[in-house]
């Protein structure tokens, strides 16, 4: 898995919570290569811990 870094033209996103994921997805959608780095073993961050969000009561995951 230890891929050698490719050519320049990528963005490093630090943090795999809701904001990090959103930034990574937006960049990726514009054909930008993204490295999404998360300290913990999984993406999801704080939001994954919440049950529902206000005011729409959506499920948080």
């Amino acid at each position: 898995m230890a891929k050698q870094p490719g050519k320049a033209g990528a963005v490093l996103v630090l943090g795999g919570g809701i904001t990090g994921i959103q930034a990574a997805l937006d960049l990726a959608a514009s054909d930008v290569k993204v490295y999404l780095v998360e300290r913990s073993p999984s993406l999801g961050g704080r939001m994954a811990q919440l049950d529902k969000t206000f005011p729409t009561m959506d499920c948080a995951i």
């Binding site: 870094p5 904001t19 994921i21 959103q22 930034a23 990726a28 300290r39 999984s42 999801g44 005011p55």
Partner: protein, 954 residues
């Protein structure tokens, strides 16, 4: 989350951290250390056998210690990647002991104790810091007994308790005796808004008020027998889209009592473990002891503990609260002190989810400027499509998924059974069908047996359908001729104890899968060309930001402004907080930039009509027509114009905050109004906000604005009083400014909507104000040379009416445009290709508007940076010969995909715009003649499943 895990442009590096960082914007080198996981992500299938066999049980941090996990574990059920990890601190396999249970249990040899991790050197053009926040540890406030008393929980712990997949399966029980509590206290501002011995941070954590209100509603929903919920707070900070309305709804809940006051302490009854909350109700002055069964502390948000180290590595600075510092000169909340490094969400301070999401998109837009985009991954030329006409020849592939399926279901008997289903031409089983080897086998058999429909009985289509579809496509079988039967997640995993019944169920499921497969039709992705330009409507701060970002990415941009000049409301303001920037200067810089850019500015221009869809909008304006691929709406909002409220229309010295702003704009140093310096100024908050007559929502911007103006006046020696309902300090540093205003001697006096302050005048002008001080229970008589009404924001009705009419973007009950999703899609709309920025979707401050402008630009760029957009083929289509043009479909589609078109001779027929259709199939369910076909979920397919499930029962 899963999308990020699957996107070909995103490489997810979990369990990793940045250790070194050097270089220049556009050309950084980042060194990332991957800590060992001890489980190979490529081999692990997430089957869970290792977890079952692991003997170590430790508390689960995801459940905040309330649940348990093993030493080999997956952090939570939907974790991405769905790979297990070994927690070596708790693993038995250290130098002395050998357990090896997990290694032995893994069929795929994915466990590797010798994993050393890796260090990666990555060349990157920019960095987005989105490391979020940490939760305040409430045990720092001993008087609340968190960590000492069993029944004192943090709000995060409550979230897990409320969650159906949490440690208590969604049942609310008190930790001490596992009984359902009758009475719960919710205590706000734990770790927020303080600075004494027992306090955390000065700032307001912003998320806790609404989170706790939400929890109250959820608690009641989960446990209808709850008798009382007592909510202790100081100011109710419901300042977000729909938040005030949400709070107002909670007031109707009979079980919920709001008490204004911050408890001084909680004591536990050692025997019953009940809790006693000591509090003064500041509205009545009454001190009471309230007995509850459980207390929930709304713990605030604090800077991440790794921020120090990360700031050092990145070479950026932190603010006094250890959040990443935002460079104030841009006015937007995205720039750190180092160019090329951007920040979003709670890494830079407190933001709620929708603001964080906007900022994330905005940061993405900023970062994009420093990278060369890689061309989209070249798709491998697929094999020529095979002929699938003729009678169905269904292939059924049964996956063992190790022992996940085969350990429960009798796969052998299923194989035999499937061979007997009509039209089934071939059946095969495999240990791991999703493995490379399994996929190869499937491809071989499809070719060998000339299969023209494929059914896989395996795990869930939600994760694996794309994998199988791709395998089909590779060998030329149309991917939509593949059907998946979920015999793992929805059968073997949940009926483990009854293998025979589960096997019988699997038989039914396979039979119905084959029934559907018989009727599957090949479908083809279509792509439509995209016009690579953008229209930005509105030349205010949000619109200008969007236009500049898009232009910086090399896009063709049209910026339309109804007024004769750019700048919007910004030009009318004096200074912008928190950085005390000159608003005029900020506006001037932006306007200059736009003028110097290739943005095509059209002032004094209005839109007449827009037709088309994503990638292809035709725009007709009073200043010519053109085509664009995407549209950003940034038309802002209006300031509420008071009528006779507080004698506004009678007295000249009753003015709005906007009028005061104009006065302050013209003066330097000493305040001078008509040649006089006022001695006493009184502000009245929530004029035209939080009222069902005008605007039920909170306008957000007025409290910080009042604070800003009050400080300005007070610094010039004016006596200032602010009459408010709750001070809502939205925005960076607003709470600190609130504190500063108090320190300067600005008086803040609370009133209730039942008893509004009275403006008393002499017939010509206001002279004083009477307001009841609640705690003192006395009428205060405050002299006032000027009364300033903090007028809220209201939608610009004429503009929004017109735009809604033209673009069919829905508006919410409050009249502002509705986002696609309040949290997850704050700048998107339900109309694909149309985005929102700034106050057009509800009140926002300048920083938020700038962030949203950038965010909308990022979203728009994602569309117009491509030549084409690919359309998912599982949409709805009309069979015109059956269509009666009754219009049912037109009326019900929220995406405006169906429309009636004239076919000449006065006969109409419905057509569904494939670019707009999302494929939900709701129109098909309403179509009286069956003219609408929901592709891949047709009536025929569903009916055939029902037939076989019920008629061919064994």
């Amino acid at each position: 989350m899963m999308d990020a895990g699957r996107h070909p442009n995103i490489e997810v590096l979990t369990n990793s951290e940045l250790v070194r960082f050097e270089g220049k914007p556009g050309n950084f080198t980042a060194t990332v250390r991957r800590h060992p996981r001890y489980v190979d992500e490529n081999l692990c299938t997430g089957c869970g056998q290792c977890v079952h066999d692991c003997p170590v049980i430790v508390p689960n941090e995801f459940e905040v210690g309330m649940g348990a996990r093993k030493a080999i574990y997956s952090p939570f059920p939907q974790a991405v990647p769905n790979t297990y990890i070994i927690d070596r601190e708790n693993c038995l396999n250290d130098d002395f002991l050998v357990c090896n249970n997990c290694m032995n249990s893994c069929d795929r040899n994915a466990v590797n104790y010798d994993d050393l991790g890796a260090e990666l050197r990555l060349a990157v053009g920019a960095v987005v810091v989105a490391t979020g926040f940490d939760v305040y540890n409430a045990s720092a406030i001993p008087s609340y007994g968190y960590g000492l008393y069993d029944n004192v929980l943090s709000n995060i712990e409550l979230e897990r308790v409320l969650n159906a997949s949490g440690p208590t399966r969604g049942h609310i029980v008190r930790p001490s005796d596992k009984k359902v509590p009758k009475k719960i206290a919710f205590i706000q501002c734990v770790g927020s808004r303080g600075e004494g011995k027992e306090a955390g941070c000065q700032y307001c954590s912003r998320y806790c008020c609404m989170n706790a209100v939400k929890d109250c509603l959820l608690v009641k929903q989960h446990e209808p027998d709850i008798e009382e919920l007592v909510f202790f707070y100081i100011d109710m900070r419901a300042a977000g889209r729909g938040f005030e309305e949400f709070y107002q709804r909670s007031l109707e809940m009979p079980e919920l009592t709001y008490v204004r006051g911050r408890p001084s302490k909680i004591l536990e009854d050692a025997v019953t473990k009940d809790l006693m909350v000591y509090v003064e109700d500041v509205e009545t002055g009454q001190v009471s002891r309230i007995k509850v069964d459980m207390a929930v502390l709304s713990t605030g948000a604090v800077a991440g503990e790794t921020n120090n180290r990360l700031a050092e590595v990145l070479g950026i600075s932190l603010d006094e609260n250890k959040f990443f510092e935002v460079d104030p000169k841009y006015g937007s909340p995205l720039h750190t002190s180092r160019e090329g490094v951007y920040v979003c969400g709670c890494a830079a301070g407190i933001n709620d989810i929708s603001d964080s999401v906007s900022q994330a998109s905005g940061a993405a837009a900023e970062a994009e400027k420093f990278v060369t985009k890689s061309p989209p991954a070249q798709e491998v030329e697929p094999a020529p499509e095979m002929d699938t006409s003729g009678p169905p020849r269904v292939g059924v592939f049964l996956c063992h998924c190790g022992i996940n399926i085969a350990g429960v279901l009798d796969v052998e008997s299923l194989k035999e059974y499937a061979q007997g289903i009509p039209d089934v031409a071939f059946v095969e089983e495999n240990l791991f069908l999703c493995s490379d080897e399994g996929q190869r086998l499937m491809q071989e058999k499809i070719a060998e047996h000339r299969l023209n429909r494929v059914v896989a009985a395996a795990c869930t289509p939600r994760t694996h359908e794309p994998v199988f579809r791709e395998s089909c496509q590779q060998i030329g079988l149309n991917p939509y001729l593949f059907e998946m039967v979920n015999v793992r997640d929805q059968c073997s995993w949940v009926h483990t104890g009854v293998p025979e019944i589960a096997t019988a169920k699997a038989r039914d499921m396979i039979r119905s899968g084959v029934a559907k497969a018989r009727h599957l039709q090949p479908l083809y992705r279509k792509s439509i060309p995209v016009n690579q330009s953008a229209l930005v409507v509105g030349g205010g701060v949000g619109g200008m930001a969007a236009a500049l970002e898009l232009e910086a990415q090399g896009m063709k941009v049209y910026l339309i402004e109804q007024q004769g000049r750019l700048g919007g409301r910004l030009i009318n303001l004096t200074r912008v907080y928190p950085a005390n920037l000159s608003a005029f200067e900020l506006a001037r810089v932006m306007v200059e930039k736009i003028k110097a850019s290739r943005v095509e500015v059209m002032t004094g221009t209005e839109i007449n009509a827009i037709s088309g869809f994503v990638g292809n909008f035709d725009v007709a304006t009073t200043n010519g027509n053109f085509k664009v691929g995407t549209i950003v709406l940034a038309t802002g909002a209006d300031i509420y114009k008071p009528g006779d409220e507080f004698s506004y229309d009678r007295f000249e010295n009753v003015i709005t905050n906007q009028e005061l702003e104009d006065i302050l704009h013209d003066t330097k140093g000493k305040i001078d109004i008509h040649g006089q310096t006022p001695e006493n100024v009184v502000f009245i908050q929530c004029v035209g906000s939080r009222s069902s007559d005008t605007n039920p929502g909170c306008s957000r911007y007025c409290c910080p604005t009042t604070i800003k103006q009050a400080i300005r006046l007070r610094e010039s020696g004016v006596n200032v009083a602010v009459l408010h309902r709750d001070m809502r300090t939205v925005g960076a540093k607003a709470e600190e400014h609130y504190r500063h205003a108090r320190e300067l001697g600005v008086k803040f006096i609370r009133f209730t909507p039942e008893r509004l302050p009275r403006v008393i005048g002499n017939g010509k002008a206001a002279e004083r104000i009477e307001v009841k001080e609640l705690a003192l229970d006395r009428i205060l008589d405050i002299p006032a040379d000027y009364v300033v009404l903090a007028a809220g924001m209201v939608p610009n009705k004429a503009t929004t009416d017109k735009l809604q009419d033209i673009l069919k973007v829905p508006r919410a009950a409050d009249g502002f445009f509705m986002e696609r999703h309040a949290k997850l899609g704050p700048v998107e709309t339900t109309t694909e290709g149309v985005f929102l920025a700034g106050c057009v979707s509800g009140p926002k401050d300048i920083a938020d508007s700038l962030a949203q402008g950038a965010a909308a630009a990022a979203k728009a760029a994602a569309i117009i940076s491509h030549d084409t957009v690919a359309l998912e083929p599982t949409t709805c289509v009309v069979r015109p010969e059956l269509c009666r043009a009754c219009g049912e479909c037109v009326g019900m589609c929220d995406y405006h995909a169906p429309g009636l078109v004239d076919k000449g001779d006065g006969v109409q027929v419905a057509e569904i715009n494939q670019a707009l259709c999302k494929g939900c199939g709701t129109c098909a369910s309403w179509c009286p003649t069956g003219a609408i076909v929901a592709l891949h979920f047709t009536d025929e397919q569903i009916n055939s499943m029902l037939d076989t499930l019920l008629l061919d029962r064994v």
